[in-house]
């Protein structure tokens, strides 16, 4: 993984000093809150419902055990003993004190971490596939480019005051696990006809008030032109994005208003004038960065030995966990382990300081000290020997980190909602907890199969509900919390926005509504290998509407 050189270390140190000065000036009254707000946001400090919130960047979701331990330390020393992993591979702490944030940032700098640009109208954390480097279907490790983009976008002087936030995601596999089509810029690595690897560029995807799948902007950008092309897009956006209306300021609005073709032309024109400038990426630079992401010294091991199969057969719980939480690895004898942060009745994506320490230890013992954070709010150990899986599973179980639900309905993605967030209209976590308890039976989970359920507490959609197979949006109806259900969303290569199924459900009824949806699916599927999303796309929304609201129709006097 990337390690800071003197340059990076100096930079982060200077940033901490700068923000320390800004906090001092704020506390002394030399700058107003209005002036301070963009400064603190660009250092990840929000003012939330109960307290400040600090969002720390985990670049492309990659962490070392040392860094994870530091996060545990910060949780204990400066917060209330836990943190929350987000849908953009970052971590949030909910109770930092403003006058202690400089100290927290210094601690983070010691382990090469920071909170730069995790908020504000600037380029945010560039996210990538959480299985980067080790997935079987990978074309090239996208983190190399995510790191290059991270550096280029950090304190970019021209793009610090954009119309609105800007989110970039990169995928390097044939299956998109980074949701690139719903980002401001999505980069999909691919091979062209000549066999060269480059980027397919998507623009203007996004969720929130106006969810939309992005448009293909340019079919192939060569590696050396990556940064100049991005700069061209940002320059066009910075000049032409709307500044008059916060809700219409994202690039997706601009692309829509301008028209995809014209927008592409504007970018092309700008790009042609800068493409051979100092932004050109030399091959040596790419290779230099790539060295940081070199794979560890794997042992030569056989794949799925008889001993392993025996262990699996002997322990049905372990077998279930392997089935749902363990993924094939490009290196024989190894596996990718997804650590579920969605225990029964838990707050999705939360981890206690104790759990952080445990995961750090497990990473050291079983995964070459490396951890990943996925945008599904789970953790990943990317380099585990198959022969260690049983021991690992036992230790994860002891820490409530072995729930066998990756990709299942209780692997819920939920924003913090009204329990924590100033913007929310309704709570999300209690709904997640209730659903999680209702579907806790592992046999039932496996029976239902792959089902993505996302919950957002407001239209800003930080829970990505639009791309949930089942999406739940919390709304405020006459001061009460209600929940609107969408069906048929997907964040993968078959990306789609969910469709609203009908009137919103009360807090009491929402879990039951989800039950009804699942029951309808189980009754309609052609086989147990037809996933929820496939059944939905085959039969459409009407059977679900019927099942959910049909009762009220039965109460009408029979006219037929």
């Amino acid at each position: 993984m990337y390690r800071y050189d003197e340059f990076d270390a100096t930079f982060v140190r200077e940033r901490v000093q700068q923000f320390t000065g800004q906090v001092e000036r704020r506390l002394a009254g030399e700058i107003t809150e209005e002036q301070f707000r963009p400064l603190r946001l660009q250092n990840g400090v929000y003012l939330q419902l109960h307290a400040y919130m600090l969002r720390i960047a985990i670049p492309y979701g990659t962490l070392s055990s040392k860094q994870m331990r530091k996060l545990g330390f910060i949780a204990r020393r400066y917060d209330r003993g836990f943190g929350h992993f987000t849908t953009r591979q970052n971590i949030q702490f909910n109770w930092p004190q403003l006058d202690e944030v400089p100290a927290i940032l210094e601690h983070l700098a010691e382990v090469e971490m920071h909170a730069i640009q995790t908020s504000g109208n600037c380029i945010r954390n560039t996210t990538a596939d959480q299985h980067s480097g080790v997935a079987k279907d990978e074309i090239e490790d996208p983190r190399v480019y995510a790191e290059i983009i991270r550096q280029w976008s950090t304190l970019h002087p021209e793009f610090a005051f954009l119309p609105r936030k800007f989110k970039i995601a990169v995928t390097g596999a044939s299956n998109d696990r980074a949701a690139v089509r719903v980002h401001d810029i999505g980069l999909r690595m691919l091979k062209n006809e000549a066999g060269e690897i480059g980027f397919e560029v998507w623009v203007g995807g996004g969720l929130g008030r106006t969810p939309i799948i992005g448009t293909a902007l340019k079919p192939f950008v060569e590696k050396q032109h990556l940064l100049s092309y991005l700069e061209a897009v940002l320059r066009v956006y910075n000049q032409l994005g709307r500044r008059d209306n916060l809700y219409k300021a994202r690039i997706k609005i601009l692309v829509n208003a301008t028209g995809a073709e014209e927008f592409a032309r504007l970018v092309e024109e700008e790009w042609q004038s800068i493409k051979d400038s100092a932004l050109t990426l030399p091959l040596e630079e790419i290779e230099r960065i790539r060295q940081y992401f070199a794979l560890p010294e794997y042992e030569s091991l056989p794949d799925w030995t008889p001993e392993f199969e025996a262990a699996r057969k002997a322990n049905p719980e372990f077998a279930r966990w392997v089935q749902s939480n363990v993924k094939p690895h490009r290196q024989a004898g190894y596996a990718i382990v997804d650590i579920s942060l969605k225990p029964e009745g838990g707050a999705p994506g939360d981890a206690s300081a104790d759990q952080m320490d445990i995961v750090a230890d497990l990473a050291d013992d079983y995964s070459f000290g490396e951890i990943r954070v996925s945008h599904h709010q789970n953790l990943v150990l990317p380099h585990v020997r198959q022969q260690d899986l049983f021991a690992l599973w036992q230790r994860l179980s002891g820490a409530k980190l072995a729930t066998s639900n990756i990709g299942f309905i209780t692997d819920i993605i939920a924003c913090p909602g009204l329990d924590y967030c100033n913007l929310a209209n309704a709570r999300a976590i209690p709904v997640a907890q209730r659903i999680s308890r209702a579907f806790s039976d592992p046999k039932r989970l496996a029976e239902i199969g792959e089902l993505r359920l996302n919950i957002s507490g407001c239209i800003n959609a930080c829970g990505h509900h639009h791309v949930g197979n089942i999406g739940i949006l919390g709304v405020d109806k006459h001061g009460e919390e209600f929940y609107q259900v969408t069906l048929g969303g997907s964040s993968r290569d078959d990306a789609s926005i969910g469709k609203i199924v009908g009137p919103a459900f009360s807090t009491e009824d929402i879990a039951g509504a989800v039950e009804t949806i699942v029951t309808t699916y189980l009754g309609a599927r052609t086989s147990d290998s037809e996933r929820f999303i496939d059944t939905y796309r085959r039969i459409g929304i009407d059977p679900f509407k019927e099942a959910l609201y049909g009762n009220s129709q039965a109460r009408r006097p029979a006219a037929e």
């Binding site: 809150e33 109960h50 003993g81 109770w95 838990g346 206690s352 329990d419 405020d476």
Partner: protein
């Protein structure tokens, strides 16, 4: 007549606070001054603006409160959650297991 209260966040630590009759800022909702009518509300907001200028609080605003036989409480779900000073859920935070409502400083 409307009954309201002024709330804000404390600048240094972000804690939710309510303007009291004495003109200081308490973390307990029950200590907040109930303001009856527009004139009282405006005066209180002016006090809050002054406190903001002195770097005591940030983001002050008025909330509606209900006064009845059971006492005083905020009318909106949001402000009820805020007055509780923590999420409505149980959080298992290892050494901090249990309902999160108290800060490490025992507030």
């Amino acid at each position: 007549m409307s009954t309201q209260m002024v709330t804000a966040n404390r600048l240094t630590d972000g804690m939710v606070v309510y303007l009291t009759k004495q003109g200081d800022w308490a973390t307990q909702f029950s200590a907040g001054a109930v303001l009856a009518g527009e004139a009282e509300a405006e005066a209180a907001m002016a006090d809050a603006a002054a406190a903001a200028k002195q770097q005591l609080i940030v983001g002050q605003y008025l909330i509606d409160v209900l006064v009845d036989g059971d006492g005083v409480k905020p009318t909106s779900t949001r402000e009820r959650i805020r007055a509780d000073r923590g999420p409505t859920i149980e959080v298992d935070a290892g050494s901090w297991t249990g309902r999160i409502g108290a800060s490490p400083n025992g507030e």
